[in-house]
């Protein structure tokens, strides 16, 4: 192992990578926070992220515009979110199994569409990614500058979204109604607000952000698409939401924890640690389990979590 490689700049680089790698999970977790606050457990997140990754890649490849890729990714996410809404709100089926169905559908559909669009090629199609844009001035701050202010624009967008989500959730009428729907849907109903409509909106937000989170991978960190590109990040994002106890700011810390695990895994490989890479690759998944076990007992789930709402049903 090359211990001499562990220098101060190396550690700062590790932390910067942690921020970057946290972003896909952060987007998805922020969206899922809204969805779960409204009382819906969307286990289809993994499939939605995959469709977002595909939409982002295809949009950017076809139009040459990364922002149109982002738009298509969010649109794909919204469509999948609405499908989850139809299953859980309108058809009132078991949300766990519906989520599994969405994940299986999204993973199959993204693979199929990719193959139908691009066929089998010896070299995979690539796109030019969002460039790194250090923020003038701020990026000169020691340590913090490289960690936070020397990234691509999607990273900044995710970081800005954290306080925005907090304000929407805790300081607006809409946020209040959304939280109430997850706790006492009957009370919201008596106030003349539509429970179903609020829950559909929560899934539109959740779907759009999960789609965006999935699209970060091809658009800002890999430049290509492959089958199962999200590699479980959808499930990790759900674990982050539980860890964060349905709070956007704590979701940031949760996402950073997993970003760190992924960054650590990558840098341990570059350090040529005497640990096989396959075992290092397990790290984020093991940490997810440990974290979930640590927080689940204490977590206070929204009262109407995963329960379909019907008027007059006791």
């Amino acid at each position: 192992m090359n211990v001499e490689l562990i220098t101060f700049p190396f550690i700062v680089g590790l932390l910067a990578a942690a921020v970057r790698l946290a972003v896909p999970i952060l987007f998805a977790a922020l969206g899922e926070t809204f969805t779960e606050r409204a009382g819906i457990l969307n286990l289809g997140l993994e499939g939605i992220m995959l469709m977002g990754a595909l939409g982002g890649f295809v949009g950017a490849y076809a139009t040459g515009s990364l922002w149109l890729g982002v738009a298509l990714a969010m649109l794909c996410g919204i469509v999948m979110g609405l499908l989850m809404g139809f299953m859980s709100i309108t058809a009132k089926v078991n949300q766990v199994v519906a989520g599994l169905g969405i994940t299986i559908l999204g993973s199959g559909l993204s693979t199929l569409l990719f193959r139908l669009f691009f066929g089998l090629r010896s070299t995979p199609p690539t796109i030019t990614m969002f460039p790194v844009q250090p923020i003038p001035g701020l990026s000169q701050i020691p340590v913090l500058g490289e960690m936070v202010f020397s990234h691509n624009i999607l990273v900044y967008l995710a970081l800005i979204l954290v306080p925005v989500a907090w304000v929407v959730l805790y300081r607006t009428r809409f946020g209040l109604a959304l939280r109430a729907v997850g706790e006492r849907p009957d009370a919201v109903d008596t106030r003349g607000l539509s429970v179903d409509r609020l829950r559909y909106i929560s899934l539109i937000i959740g779907g759009a952000l999960a789609g965006l989170g999935g699209a970060v991978l091809p658009l800002a960190s890999l430049g290509i698409f492959w089958t199962q590109i999200t590699a479980g990040r959808g499930f990790i994002a759900i674990a982050v939401v539980v860890f964060a106890r349905w709070d956007p700011v704590r979701a940031l810390w949760g996402a950073l924890l997993f970003g760190s695990a992924m960054a650590l895994q990558l840098s341990l490989q570059t350090l040529k640690m005497p640990i096989p890479s396959e075992l290092l690759l397990m790290l984020p998944y093991i940490i997810t389990i440990i974290v979930l076990v640590g927080v689940s007992r204490r977590a206070e789930f929204p009262a109407a979590y995963a329960v379909p709402y019907s008027r007059g049903e006791k």
Binding site: G101, S107, Y285
Partner: protein, 355 residues
């Protein structure tokens, strides 16, 4: 997870309900196939050609037909495993990982104790596979029972960990020293290979074992343990009032679930591959869930749906080879089948009491 509190145990056969289920299942599958055809049509492929080559691939000859049964075997075992946990409201989606662990452990037993006579060693590999699958699943079961950790997330994480564990083993400690660095373990002794049922095909005894376990599953639901499983699934509160330990039941059912998936892994190893290879369990977990749900979590229903999806897997591979249509079409059909089967009460307007 649902708020409903009525506990009804299924007993005598309700032929009307059975007919309705079969009708809705057939309708769901047909609709899913149509959606698949539509996708192909939009993308400029010829759906008739694609489905012809799918059909020929699955049923075109005796050999193809036995291959369908070969693919149906692990799906049936996994579906029985899934139905056990789902009927107990344990959403274990970790079959793929449990299959992998079953494969790893059974091959390890076969290679480590190779000096034992086959009559003793083969049963030992079976037990090893079942035990390893059961233990892997028990991790998630215990975490659910005693730490309230969501089993969907823990089991899916355990799947990724199992995939990397398998990759590690076949690239490292269990790699065949005489295998030119191919990521695979040494072959097991010829005497341990499961006998073929039809000479010249890959159909083997594992298929009969799967059918045997269908019978065992039918019996299971008539035992007190089966009833306890179903009551804990129907209502945790009612189960507690009767005096059943909910955590203990969850742990036990998780172990049985994993053991069944582990047996599927054992069957793949000793009936088909005869050595550990990477990705031998790929996609089996979600296929098993679809088979279980399409079969309404009933052992006999799952025999039919396992056969159907065995045919789709074999046919899908042939379709990719012969018509150039991606196998992922089968994955899309899977997703559509799950969603349609779930929402059938709403879509097909046959509203009966929710399950």
């Amino acid at each position: 997870m649902t708020a409903r509190e009525q506990v009804t145990l299924r007993r005598s056969i309700d032929w009307g309900a059975l007919g309705r289920s079969a009708y809705q299942a057939a309708l769901s599958v047909t609709l899913s196939l149509l959606i698949g055809a539509l996708l192909l049509l939009i993308s400029g492929q010829n759906p008739v050609l694609a489905f012809r080559s799918l059909w020929d691939g699955a049923f075109g000859s005796v050999n193809r037909f036995t291959e369908t049964l070969v693919q149906a075997t692990p799906l049936l075992l996994i579906a029985i495993s899934v139905s056990l946990s789902f009927r107990c409201q344990i959403w274990n989606i970790g079959a793929e990982g449990q299959v992998i662990l079953g494969g790893i452990a059974s091959i390890w037993v076969a290679l480590t104790f190779s000096e034992l006579p086959p009559a003793i060693l083969l049963p030992l590999t079976f037990i090893g596979g079942a035990l390893a699958g059961g233990m892997w699943s028990l991790i998630a079961g215990l975490l659910k029972a005693y730490a309230q950790a969501n089993e969907v997330i823990t089991t899916s994480m355990l799947n990724y960990i199992a995939v990397y564990l398998l990759a590690f083993l076949v690239h490292g400690p269990m790699m065949d020293p005489a295998g030119f660095n191919f990521p695979q373990s040494p072959l097991i002794a010829r005497s341990l290979e499961l006998p073929r049922l039809v000479a010249g095909t890959r159909l083997n005894v594992a298929f009969l074992i799967a059918l045997l376990l269908v019978g065992a599953a039918l019996l299971y639901w008539r035992t007190t343990l089966g009833q306890r499983t179903e009551i804990v699934g129907a209502s945790r509160r009612v189960a507690r009032q009767i005096g059943f330990s909910v955590p203990a039941t969850i742990a036990l059912v998780s172990m049985l679930t994993g053991a069944l998936a582990g047996i599927a892994g054992w069957g793949e190893m000793f009936g088909l591959h005869f050595r550990l290879i990477e990705e031998f369990a790929r996609g089996m977990g979600s296929l098993g869930i679809v088979v279980a749900l399409l079969g309404e979590l009933h052992p006999l229903g799952m025999v039919v749906s396992a056969f159907l999806f065995g045919a789709l897997v074999v046919g899908g591979n042939a379709m990719e080879r012969n018509a150039g249509v991606p196998f992922a079409l089968v994955d899309v059909i899977q997703g559509c089948v799950i969603l349609l089967i779930l929402a059938r009460g709403y879509i097909f307007k046959f509203r009966r009491g929710a399950r």
